[in-house]
């Protein structure tokens, strides 16, 4: 466990050693809050809820999780430090976990930094705090799954841009499969059971219950197993 901790510390600190982390946080907050205000009609809806903020998260993480995860392995390969890392007495699993958890913690901070929104609705009305908490929980869980995809794509290349693009594509598919508009279009050409099955593999229908205040075990298991599956492949990819 201490090996995982040492990797975690280096990786997490690494985000803040360069201005990239701050740029990322500012852009993420501006975009996520901006979407809630200007597209999601945060004020006009006149409801003390963060639903308009969280409803954009599946779309945002397509890009932002890919941006956080793209450097995880590609950078090590490019710098040659992967040789240093894997001649230290740590297992690939230690390294994958340490790095993933660091990136996840960073992304979670980005999500939690929207807390002034929560304070605002608490000040202006009486929100259902249970819903706010489950929404944050669901959002962080979902971010972890997207990030695991991105960490995996990063392990296949030494080029961060390639990792980013491939990861965006995979994440996009994961969202689109459960997007209601897309499902509607699919329903016209294929039977409903098939549409339902496909949409079951999407992050979208598993995230929505959280934003309504429902924590269903099957949704939690979905995100955790998607994350675990990607991290497992990540370890295998590095052990080659």
């Amino acid at each position: 466990m201490s090996r995982v901790a040492s990797i975690f510390k280096r990786e997490f600190g690494g985000y803040f050693r360069t201005p990239v982390a701050y740029v990322f946080l500012v852009v993420f907050l501006m975009l996520s809050v901006g979407l809630a205000f200007f597209v999601g009609q945060f004020f006009d809806s006149n409801v003390a809820s963060l639903e308009s903020y969280f409803s954009f998260h599946p779309w945002l993480f397509i890009f932002f999780a890919a941006a956080v995860g793209m450097r995880l392995w590609a950078e090590e390969k490019k710098n040659g430090t992967i040789e240093l890392l894997f001649t230290l007495p740590i297992t690939p699993l230690d390294a994958v976990l340490g790095k993933f958890l660091a990136a996840w913690a960073f992304l979670s901070i980005a999500i939690l930094l929207s807390f002034p929104m929560a304070i605002t609705i608490g000040f202006l009305g009486s929100p259902d705090w249970g819903v706010v908490i489950t929404s944050y929980f669901g959002s962080i869980l979902m971010a972890g799954s997207f990030l695991a995809v991105s960490s995996l794509t990063s392990a296949f290349t030494r080029n961060q841009v390639i990792s980013f693009v491939v990861s965006v594509c995979v994440n996009l598919v994961l969202v689109l499969m459960g997007w209601s508009i897309f499902n509607g279009a699919m329903g016209r050409v294929m039977p409903q059971w098939l549409v339902d099955t496909i949409s079951n593999f999407s992050t979208m229908p598993h995230f929505e219950p959280f934003t309504k205040g429902m924590v269903d075990l099957k949704d939690v298991v979905f995100f955790l197993s998607l994350t675990t599956f990607c991290l497992f492949l990540n370890v295998v990819a590095l052990e080659r």
Binding site: T18, T87, L88
Partner: protein, 240 residues
Amino acid sequence: MIEVIDLVKTYGAKRAVDKISFSVSRGDILGFLGPNGAGKSTTMKLITGFLTPDSGTAVVAGHDVRKAPLEVKRKIGYLPESAPSYPEMNVEEFLLFVAEARGFTRPGDREALVDRAVAKTHLEPVRRQSIETLSKGYRQRVGLAQAILHDPPILVLDEPTDGLDPNQKNEVRSLIRGMATEKAVILSTHILEEVEAVCTRIVLLSAGRIVVDETPAAFQARQPGARLDAIFRSLTQSDV
């Protein structure tokens, strides 16, 4: 201390290392010679457990690298080619990370190890400088500091004097000589005079095979009076 047995590694159609066997005992400084692409770095990567051999194995301090890679990695200090390190970290942070990843988690222990390695490699003046701002010579020494940090019984150094000026080269050589009495050392180099200056044995590789395994004196005796590079050229001509 190191027993290399019939190591084979193939990249695609190219056999990089072709059934290499040799052994290194305590007090030996083995100089790895050979043209670029002869398999020097690959052999080192196989011994340190970074790459897995297609067949054969290396036994390091009694541990088989295929069966107990972590044990082997604990016993080896490894300087990869061109001394990769994390550019955004400063020297001290980087060495503390390596110490922690090597399992030295008690705060006092770590600092003591880092102090010793910094003193041995004369890194004191740049201790708090970020690695990306260092000259090639200093970076090389950071790599060396990282390799000797845990006082390993075995050192594997891939071109340790590459990029150093003549004074620094001398310094690194005397550092290696000073440590070699209680260690087994493998180093690769392109500089033939270096072999004469520090090594107790020469292993000359050509096209993935061992051409020569003898003392520098015996190597010189092949063509008395000739320059070492003339002997080197005549032995590796088939490679060109």
